[in-house]
């Protein structure tokens, strides 16, 4: 797992704002191996989504850049599929059609109609959504929508799967369920995954490495924690596992001691200027845990 699959080199980005350029990220360097599961964690507004968007090609880094298999990333594409925080399904299409749109686009000319059909159904099966193929997004729950979003991304057979707080808007139970599903799928398909999260348990449970980001502006990578827990991982068995708790502690200590977010010093409008609506569930308080 040493080959360089995805490489971020000296990535920095400035956003033009009415009050002059705003430097969101600086000196972001990260190398990710094929099949690795990496999570990005950091306080709300530090620039996690921005990193993901740069890898996705939706934003262009001001300096530095991203290499995927040695080729520069300069535009969005299905080989870097994105699972958006709020599912982003097309509300006028059914579950099946939403995945179909992606499959048709990616496999046009490579798969026959029947093969596509099978592939769509297979991917929806992976996320346990076979029972709702012909339901529209407004007819299924938030967790199901997120599953379909994941199925759509998986169906593109991406080289890198990018997930922006995929379970952030879900209740704890549904989230646990989806995390388990994701681990199963990951064990099966061995995708390279970058996942943004604000949930420390989620990060430790799912990741091979946890990338912890410092607070912005000019955010960068603070520490990288390698999680060497054996797989498959079981959340119940891990609850009392000393190693697991050690990792948790490390992340918590980074977030709440080293990168403690001092709200008083942050001008209010700065948080308001970020996509505060989307990131309302950001890390503000340590998660209470029994």
């Amino acid at each position: 797992m040493n080959q360089k699959h995805l490489e971020l080199t000296q990535v920095a980005i400035e956003f033009p704002t009415p009050r002059g350029p705003f430097c969101a990220l600086q000196n972001v360097n990260l190398t990710i191996a094929k099949g690795e599961f990496v999570s990005l964690i950091g306080h709300s507004g530090c620039g996690k989504s921005t990193v993901l968007n740069i890898v996705a090609g939706l934003y262009q880094a001001t300096t530095g850049g991203v290499l995927l298999n040695g080729r520069e990333v300069d535009e969005p594409g299905p080989e870097r599929a994105v699972v958006f925080q709020n599912h982003s399904l097309l509300p006028w299409l059914t579950t099946y059609q939403n995945v179909e749109l992606a499959v048709k686009q990616v496999f046009r000319g490579r798969k026959t109609r029947a093969e596509m059909r099978e592939w769509i159904e297979h991917n929806l099966e992976l996320v346990h959504m076979s029972h709702a193929l012909h339901k529209r997004p407004d007819e299924i729950s938030g967790g199901m929508k997120q599953r379909v979003g994941i199925a759509r991304a998986l169906a593109m057979e991406p080289q890198v799967l990018l997930m922006d707080e995929p379970f952030g808007a879900l209740d704890a139970l549904t989230r646990a369920h989806l995390q388990d599903s994701l681990m199963e799928i990951q064990a099966d398909l061995k995708n390279t995954v970058i996942m943004i999260t604000h949930d420390v348990d989620e990060a430790v449970l799912l990741s091979d490495r946890i990338v912890m980001m410092t607070n912005g502006p000019s955010a960068t990578i603070g520490e990288i924690l390698e999680v060497k827990l054996p797989r498959p991982r079981n959340r119940i068995a891990l609850a009392d596992n000393a190693e697991y708790n050690h990792y948790r502690h490390q992340v918590l200590s980074f977030l709440y001691e080293k990168q403690r977010k001092v709200e008083e010093l942050q001008p209010r409008r700065e948080t308001a200027a970020s996509d505060a609506g989307k990131d309302a569930s950001g890390v503000d308080e340590p998660k209470a845990r029994a």
């Binding site: 996705a56 599929a81 982003s88 097309l90 686009q105």
Partner: protein, 328 residues
């Protein structure tokens, strides 16, 4: 009201639930109540108004005039029928005498009846509206997609939007007479003038609403489109148009309403065939029946306007993906 309902409920002759009774009350009772009150006020008020053409007609007189108009239509149908029968007979006789005889078929040309005018107006408004939509929807999409196009076109929209149909009419009339010269025209000039005026006035709501709908497409869906690398045709078909459909229909309904109003005004002013001309002719006519007949026309214009709006709603609920959207 509640007492009546309660009594009905206790008796419960058809075994309906309270909810069904309530929906019956709101669906039938209140509209009927409103209508009855209106007729009462109209009836009482009309008798107080003396015009140069006599007392203002009340509901009864207007109903009478409606019956007269239906009767006129029936007579006209008979006359037309008789005309064609005579003509057929005459031609048959001609042919019998001389098989090589030159036969002429003439169109029946009677005075257009009230219902002919209704049909003319409907055809004109639908044509004008369809033309307006055919221009406004694609242009609206273009404006919504491109900030530059928006910048270029927005000032024009803002200036032309408030122009009254009465101001367009002379220009359209002159331009159509100058440009549309043909010995055997497919459309009559008056039709074109009315239709183009309708188009010019009803274009704007659809144009503006479509462009707003398109420019408000969720950022996330745009990102989905980018990640999938949808080409622009697919992008417009699968993302842009469905997103914009609710706004588009808001615009289309406003446009159709405006189209209908503008058409009647244009027909009155330009003396172009249609309901507007009917109203104007009756006004000029000044017989004792005229006021009643104008009232019939006013009611028919209203009912048609209402039906046009309903049909748009029907189309909207049929096309719209969001079946939960409350359309009213």
């Amino acid at each position: 009201m509640t007492a009546v309902l309660l009594k009905l409920k206790r008796a419960n002759p058809v075994g309906w639930s309270a909810d069904q009774w309530r929906s019956l009350a709101s669906g039938v009772f209140f509209p009927a109540l409103g209508l009855a009150l209106f007729l009462l006020v109209w009836h009482a008020g009309a008798q107080q108004i003396n015009t140069s053409l006599g007392t203002f007609p009340g509901p009864v007189q207007v109903l009478e005039q409606w019956n007269n108009l239906v009767e006129e239509q029936r007579q006209e149908n008979e006359r037309r029928h008789a005309f064609y029968e005579r003509q057929e007979q005459r031609n048959a006789e001609l042919l019998a005498r001389n098989p090589d005889a030159e036969i002429r078929w003439r169109e029946y040309r009677g005075r257009p009846t009230f219902f002919d005018q209704v049909v003319t107006s409907l055809v004109t408004v639908v044509s004008g509206f369809v033309l307006a939509s055919a221009i406004a929807i694609p242009l609206g999409i273009l404006i919504g997609l491109s900030q530059q196009v928006y910048r270029a076109i927005n000032p024009l929209i803002q200036v032309f939007k408030p122009v009254s149909p009465l101001a367009w009419l002379p220009l359209v009339t002159l331009v159509v007479s100058a440009v549309y010269v043909s010995s055997d025209p497919m459309f009559s000039r008056s039709f074109l003038v009315s239709m183009i005026t309708v188009t010019l006035c009803s274009l704007w709501p659809t144009l503006i609403n479509t462009s707003v709908g398109v420019s408000n497409i969720s950022k996330d869906l745009q990102n989905v489109s980018k990640v999938l690398r949808l080409n622009w045709v697919t992008h417009i078909r699968t993302i842009v148009i469905p997103s914009a459909i609710p706004m588009m229909f808001t615009g289309l309904r406003l446009s159709l309403g405006i189209a209908w109003m503008v058409l009647i005004a244009a027909e009155m002013l330009a003396q172009n065939p249609g309901l507007g001309k009917f109203v104007w002719d009756e006004f000029q006519n000044g017989s004792s029946d005229s006021l009643g007949r104008i009232c019939v026309a006013v009611l028919v214009i209203g009912v048609i306007g209402f039906l046009l709006d309903r049909s748009m709603l029907l189309l909207q609920s049929w096309v719209n993906w969001d079946k939960n959207a409350i359309v009213r």
